[in-house]
């Protein structure tokens, strides 16, 4: 099957953040939490999403995870209210 073209990292990150915000209740508190030490909320939410979809739980926006995020879907969150 055709291999996905290389991704523009910035675009991917935007996709990941908005997906997790919309469907996995990621709180986007606009601090530079992506570079802070210790657990990154984004990575934790990513793991939650990867676990839900039966993907490999890496906490990283790998190719399979990005492909899943691009799939057309229902607008209701997968977790929480």
């Amino acid at each position: 099957f055709p291999v996905a073209p290389d991704e523009d990292e910035g675009k991917s990150l935007e996709l990941v953040e908005s997906y997790l915000e919309k469907f996995y209740d990621l709180q986007r508190d606009h601090q530079a939490h992506l570079r802070s030490k210790g657990k990154s909320p984004l990575s934790a939410k990513l793991k939650e999403m990867q676990e839900f979809f039966g993907l490999q739980v890496t906490g990283k926006p790998d190719l399979d995870t990005l492909e899943m995020m691009k799939k057309p879907r229902c607008g209701i969150p997968d977790v929480g209210q």
């Binding site: 229902c74 607008g75 997968d78």
Partner: protein, 367 residues
């Protein structure tokens, strides 16, 4: 299945619905039919009934909406979010909103309205997203031919846990999503495809790539929307880079990854007598250019170069392949032929003409 947080449910079984507006992309009658069919998916397995109302408030208000439509959940244009719905309750509770900018259809093109509305009605009735990839309540869209659609068992279990069973004498059951490491897993058909092995089961295909440890589960319709579910036999003819897929008395040809135009065709074009109604399994021997078709307890041999059945067939399977029983599925790899009979797999050496090993059907999945 997952209940919506707080376990909301309707206090009555006789619910009402109203269609507030229609998408111009489908005939009004087709929208009505899609919605009725979607509602019947849930009413068939519960005591719930749905009555259509006009000009007054209904429990479930169904509408097509654009971008920001004042419910704090704006749509995002084509693709992405297709629709959303609200949990049971007064006012907006139970309502279904569909993104008008999607390509709504009644078939496999664009997004099938029936499938999407059936999913959203699950939310309207109190279900949340399931992580069963075969469930209707799985968050991502996947097409199934509405004529073949059966509510999966995961969704039946979920909605009946909320509203109870239907009053039907025989309780309806639904398809269960195959698990690669389920020791009871049997297969409808198996073929190689450009180095991978594709295992067909119901509306699913399990895909095993030699370089990946994990087995991938997909709907057949994800790759080949025009193919039916329940493929019964398949084989790859490597010389022509083709895979032939069989169901009942028809067959399709995949050239590369695409279904070749002009298919399905009757299997009788291959030389089967009219008495043959379906093919159980097939494999093609790369070295001899001969393809073997297994039907009940007999097998035919087809010459791929002459494009005719060889004379002297059918023959008894047991006479040439030994005690492998009825063949559900077969494929050839690295010179050996693998026959599947229920949960048993036989490795057959065509040179020595004997079975050299017996394994479990799921041995390819690194369980």
């Amino acid at each position: 299945y997952v209940f919506t947080a707080g376990n909301p449910k309707w206090k009555r079984n006789n619910l009402t619905y109203r269609i507030l507006n229609y998408t111009p992309k489908m005939r009004k009658a087709d929208v009505d039919e899609a919605i009725q069919k979607a509602l019947s998916v849930w009413s068939k397995v519960t005591p719930l009934t749905f009555q259509k109302v006009e000009d007054k408030e209904a429990d479930i208000m169904i509408s097509f909406a654009y971008r920001d439509h004042h419910d704090n959940s704006p749509f995002d244009g084509p693709n992405g979010q297709l629709a959303h719905a609200f949990q049971p309750g007064e006012g907006i509770g139970g309502d279904v909103h569909l993104d008008e900018e999607e390509a709504w259809t009644k078939d496999g093109r664009g997004y099938n309205l029936f499938i999407v509305i059936a999913h959203e009605l699950g939310h309207s009735l109190g279900l949340s997203h399931s992580n069963d990839p075969g469930a209707l309540m799985y968050p991502t869209y996947s097409y199934t031919d509405p004529n073949e659609f059966l509510l999966p068992q995961d969704d039946i279990d979920g909605i009946q846990a909320i509203y109870g069973q239907s009053s039907a004498a025989v309780q309806p059951t639904g398809p269960v999503t195959p698990q690669a490491c389920d020791p009871h897993l049997t297969f409808d058909a198996i073929t190689t495809l450009r180095g991978e092995i594709i295992f067909f089961k119901g509306r699913y295909m399990l895909r095993k790539h030699p370089a990946r440890t994990k087995t991938e589960l997909n709907f057949i319709s994800l790759f080949w929307p025009k193919l039916p579910s329940g493929i019964q036999a398949a084989y790859e003819y490597v010389e022509r880079d083709e895979v032939l897929l069989f169901k009942e008395n028809k067959y399709w040809v995949l050239r590369g990854y695409d279904i070749a135009p002009g298919y399905p065709k009757p299997i009788y074009h291959l030389g089967f007598p009219k008495t043959v109604k379906r093919v159980n399994a097939a494999y093609s021997d790369e070295t001899t250019g001969k393809t073997y078709f297994f039907v009940a307890d007999r097998y035919w041999r087809y010459d791929e170069n002459k494009k005719t059945m060889d004379h002297g067939y059918p023959k008894k399977i047991v006479s040439d392949f030994g005690k492998i029983g009825r063949v559900d599925a077969a494929f050839q790899k690295d010179g050996y032929v693998y026959f599947f009979h229920r949960t048993t797999q036989f490795q057959f050496d065509p040179r020595a003409k004997r079975i050299v090993r017996q394994m479990k059907s799921i041995s390819w999945f690194n369980c």
